[in-house]
Amino acid sequence: MLKWKRSLTVLAMTALLGTMTACGGGANNNNVEPAAEPAGSNTAATTAPSNTAPSNEPVKLRIMWWGSQPRHEATLAALELYTKNNPNVTFEPEYSGMDGYLDKLSTQAAANNAPDIIQLDPGWMPDWMGRSQLAELAPEVDVSKFDGKLLAGGQLDGKQYAVPLGSVAFGMVYDKAAMDKLGIASPANGWSWDDFFALAKESKSKLPSGQYFTIDYAGNYFMYSAYQYARGKGQVITDDGHFNVDQATFLEWTKKFEELRKEGLVPPADLNASDKEFDPQMDLMAAGKVLFRYSFSNNLGTWDSIKPGAYALVTMPRAEEAGGWLKPSMYLSVSKNSKHAEEAKKFINWFVNDPEAGNILQTFRGLPANKDIATSLEASMSDLDKLGLGLLRATEPDGQTWSAGAGGWTNFIDKDWVLVRDQLSFGKVTPEKAFEQLKEASQSYEK
């Protein structure tokens, strides 16, 4: 009796030791290879570097991307075709939604275990290139048919580290079907922020309870960026890494949303915080709770798959200047640590330049950045894609110049802004205090 009770104490000490491992291990993943590393890449790792490439040695490439179901299906079909043409190359795809994608990828990269081929958001490019995590793509990947503006986001010191996959426009999507039913007029391209807020007020009497005009964007980084651009005050974070939120503009914006909040035109805070873009149940627009939200031109297909025929796109409202912009949708790159860099680059070259691949991939990653492929697709586009293209063409003439911005601020956007967003929406801080808080938080990111 005594013995086994005493042994509990010993067990407790062992458990305590276990904790130490947990703490220590967490920060040291780069030294200890995770046990879960796929067997495929292990066996491959022992083969010699394939610099002297075009052998027929079997190669397994890990490729990772985010997206919605149509994009997954198209990409898998393209991979299958490539394996058919090059039987020695097989793939180990890892795909998911955007939720948690960067967390997963960053953790893998920290463990020197990033996939061979990685899809990256333009906003992350400065970080990834700056940390030398990507391999140079020249000369295997031919970018001669690409728009120079789109290529720039994947370049550092004159070297191309990533190819743009498409171009998209930043605008808004709205529930046209619901608005027609409620008798609210649809907006037209080129509308202004004044029109936007006027339409919100006008809709007040028409909206049934439980339905709102738009999401509470008071503390939303992307929407505020669009507003600050429209007011001609430039970027929120400058290219050389400085906090550039214009105080007066920020207060104007947050106070307008404060009004909407008081009038019940944006969802209450707990509902607002539950929003999950593209989730059939938790996306507030898909659930029929809001009429407007921001969207990229290539996302219409995803909304449409949730509620066919209900949604339409419109340009981001403007003020003195245009509110929206064109930007590269995403980039494709090769991990610096890839053991099969040559094969990976060969694949990317095919993925972005081959007409057959282009035909499979359609516009699920935006209008292809390869001009020849874009032209050939435009001829046979579906109505849905034409709507997306319409937003692209409407934004193009005077849209803002997109820039990848400075590196090292991703966490500021993902965490510090989100905190302020919640605080504003829950009414826990005043707009003035919110600005102070952002400014203070920015100091740990300033270069």
């Binding site: 703490c23 967490g26 919640d422």
Partner: protein, 320 residues
Amino acid sequence: MNRSTAATAPSAAKANKSPYFRSRWNAPLAGYLFISPWLIGFLALTAYPLFLSLYYSFTDYTLMQPMSWIGSRNYERIFTADPKFIQSAKVTLIYVLASVPLKLMAALFVAMILRKAVRGISIYRTAIYFPSLIGGSIGVSLLWRNIFGVDGIFNKLIGVFGFEGKGWITSPDTALGTLILLTVWQFGSTMVIFLAGLKQIPNDLYEASSVDGANKVTQFFRITLPMLSPILYFNLIMAVIGAFQMFTSAFVITNGGPMNATYVYALYLYERAFSRYELGYASALAWIMLVGIVTATVLISYTSKYWVFYETDTRGGERK
């Protein structure tokens, strides 16, 4: 005389060493060989990373950048200029203080019920233990998010009784509470240990006390609890250690939000290490957490002599 001292000296020295001590150091090599797989694993996978992280905590190690020794500057920054450290430590402390007692009480309560021999008791035991098997998983976290979401089952349920629901997970005042509830619900393994302990308590004690006129409540406080105290002690330490390291549900269900209400320490550590790649700083955070856990454990151990009762122990507890 000389001869006798010379003869007795070695044997006296030998006698000073306890047999326990001697056998430990003269253990045959074979013994160490037998445990070597564990030993190597321990040294390479536990001890080495552990001390390496201690070293990193004194550097500005950031992934993919050159590293340099900066002394205690990480620690200084954490304690003097890091509001997120204070916020996350606060949330974690609240979480530990709330979830541990609740979980132990729930586990003990259920163990008391399951102790009775009823038909089909093993089925009940399995059913109640089941959530613990799946408890730490992502799937359950997602399930929780749906149950307590704005349109979740929980709101529909209380709606039947005329209460108005809200976004339990997305409101700052209730978010941490829902996570605590999830932890409490996973009391299975704690409960099993309690159950084993309860079965060890001799029935004579209850019989004798009921002859003396003790009621159920008195029996619980005078017999069950003291007899169970070593097990309670063990479960308490395990629960505290587990609670300090809470990560999965805060990461999956709320991602630290809303308004940092569920921003637990491990989440902050993770963010520093894997989204900002500041491994040196994260290592310092990890060591502070370790010291925190050790302190809590030592405190509990220290107080244990006042409340943990060993049946055969006449030093502590109720001296007779």
